[in-house]
Symmetry: C2
Amino acid sequence: MSVDRTRLLLDTIKRLLRRGASSHLHKIVNKTHAADLAFVFRFLTLREQEALFSFMDNVQQEAMLFSELEEEVLLKLIEDMPAEKIAGIMAQMPKDDVADLLGKLSDERSQALLDLMTEEESEEVEELLRYDEETAGGIMLPDFIALKEDATAREVIEALQKDYIDIEMPFYLYVVDDHGHLVGVISLRQLVVVPPHTKLKAIMATDVVSVQTDTDQEEVARIVARYNILAVPVVDENNNPVGIVTVDDVVDIIREEATEDFLKMAGAGEDLVESQSVFKSTRTRLPWLLASWIGGVIAFFIICHFESSLNKLIFLAAFIPVIMGMGGNVGTQSSTIVVRGLATGRLSIKQIWEVVFKELAIGFLLGFFYGFLLGFVAHLRYDMWLLGVTVGLAVLSSMTIAASVGSLVPMVFARINIDPAVATGPFVTTAIDILSVFFYFQIATLLLPL
Amino acid sequence: MSVDRTRLLLDTIKRLLRRGASSHLHKIVNKTHAADLAFVFRFLTLREQEALFSFMDNVQQEAMLFSELEEEVLLKLIEDMPAEKIAGIMAQMPKDDVADLLGKLSDERSQALLDLMTEEESEEVEELLRYDEETAGGIMLPDFIALKEDATAREVIEALQKDYIDIEMPFYLYVVDDHGHLVGVISLRQLVVVPPHTKLKAIMATDVVSVQTDTDQEEVARIVARYNILAVPVVDENNNPVGIVTVDDVVDIIREEATEDFLKMAGAGEDLVESQSVFKSTRTRLPWLLASWIGGVIAFFIICHFESSLNKLIFLAAFIPVIMGMGGNVGTQSSTIVVRGLATGRLSIKQIWEVVFKELAIGFLLGFFYGFLLGFVAHLRYDMWLLGVTVGLAVLSSMTIAASVGSLVPMVFARINIDPAVATGPFVTTAIDILSVFFYFQIATLLLPL
């Protein structure tokens, strides 16, 4: 469904809810895809959500809705729901989503729900709960197919029809040796097209791409993207497969991580919650602007420090915006290139000096060009070539510093394991503002007859 | 392979190339995944690339390398390659990649290569070349499986083993009626687990998610992401299936589109080409800074216009950075939220006034808070409450305007079909700078004894 059609659905549902048109709602809810319902839920009040949920007939659809709903929305929705109802729905959800949900609940509530599961299921979920949420272990599905090297194609197809009915998406069959170590992989379609008595050993690919349970989810996403695979097996420290991460989860990770980076770089929180109230949004964004405010006040004191120079050549003030602006923009270019390069794996923190030096050179060239242009304009306006040189040098120094700082800071932060995106936005801009203003007035004081 | 390990591979290959260690290179090249080789190629000179390529034995691996290489690199590499060699490799590549490549070559070259293909293949590729590159038609694979509703599971499995050996990834089998219209879908695994004489009609899902040939690739990606599917069928205007878009292409689209948006918002071009030379990078980034330069010069003239006011209260200049900085940062927050919201489909251009009004309210609240804070500092420093009111109001107006402009501009651009990301970055920041400075001095002139 396109964005506009989902919005139409939302408007229809809201109208029907207001009118209390039960039979209409019942029909619409049960023929709408859970992913679309999840979208609609974001814009409804809790009361409306509960009303809509009560019209759902199919526990499978309820389970898909739970998987698709945003955490915040889901947690509120189940707050007053009986444990038995929740457990029934959870039984139909993928285990990784169940583990995510339980991880967010209070210990008692989570334990109560685990007690309602079958022993096998609760063990699998508890296993998943052991891993950090943002690692391969935290996002993997424990359901996968591992077969012995000596099994034949026919045996495997028969096994699939009997034992593996529950497996969500069996695109790949993993092959293990006698010690249970991962040694190969074959696709379901290969299995279907070879003669029935072919042994797996003979047809499996042996260069299996795999990740460890503690591999970061961003790295998992990069690997799945790079090798164009539909699922990557997760192995423990002994190279025994313990789960798989599927490409549909990777798609979500890539989108979420990109959104997170966008918002962090803009200093606007981490989650895009467009349905949030004005006050809540204000509260999220307020603290991020503090760096910028403090930076501005520091710039204020720097200018005050040069007040006597300014007094003699009042028009120096008029160049402040262009010098700050050019530095700020080139700094944003540099840090964006570095942050995105690190996120997509196209840059490595090993290249720190190579990258910073290159950005410095680019900043210098850009600064030379635009500094010359501004110096020329200044000279034309005031017929005073020393002023031209001053503002030209100020732009040159501002842009060179900005490009270096803009690339150095995210690199350094990545190296000390702080998210480069969060570090970059407001902090880099503010640092550049302060440095630009300082060097400008320093250069002016040195060169001009003040 | 992790980023660091790929970098190690690059260093090893470079060293071996320098030493001319042919047998080592031969061994390494042929056991390395094509995706990793593509990464390495980005950092080699054309000569080195050609040397490395000559060590490749396997045409399948060559085809995968061609698919993975960046356009720019690939075009240079094949410039002097004989047409027969290229055609041989193309025969092993997915059709959508072949069409992409031919679309980039000169008409004669492209025709020469088409002539070397089998008639069936060249027809399929020419079909793909008809569609815009960034639409579903341009990225789809023409190989998919469409079956009649009345076929049985056994018949289909037999057909798979004989007729559909070439199909890359048959996760879904599409079901068509007697007119060839798309009416259902079943997964390969469903087929394997039902009794052999079950008819497709009985087990297919009828709510097939599909896209049109002219659907934008971003919309295709959103649909695949939302419904967690592995492939989406592409239909023509008569609802006849003509191809599929697979999730691995969607993963690439999502990453590329996010990178493009990051760079556009920073005014740093569209492609992340970290291996580009300093001069080339400078040339890419130079024009984007022009808006910012012109904006700065306009701000300069505005300040000059208020020179007499400034002459009397010289310290007014010292507040310019903080007022500009606060506006710029809140504007970046607003436009980032809108651009990302539109890109992920969480905001629709229909909501334009709702969103802008909300941002205006948030900007006002944030401006009130930080304006009050700055006014207080100003009053403390100069013991002049009218000055406090002036700078407070300047921050308030700057932030309110910035939030409105920052959200309005991308919304308007999206509505008139200009990419909101490209429009947003430097232009919005510059507009905000100019407006902030203007309102600041206007307020000062009205309120202060100048």
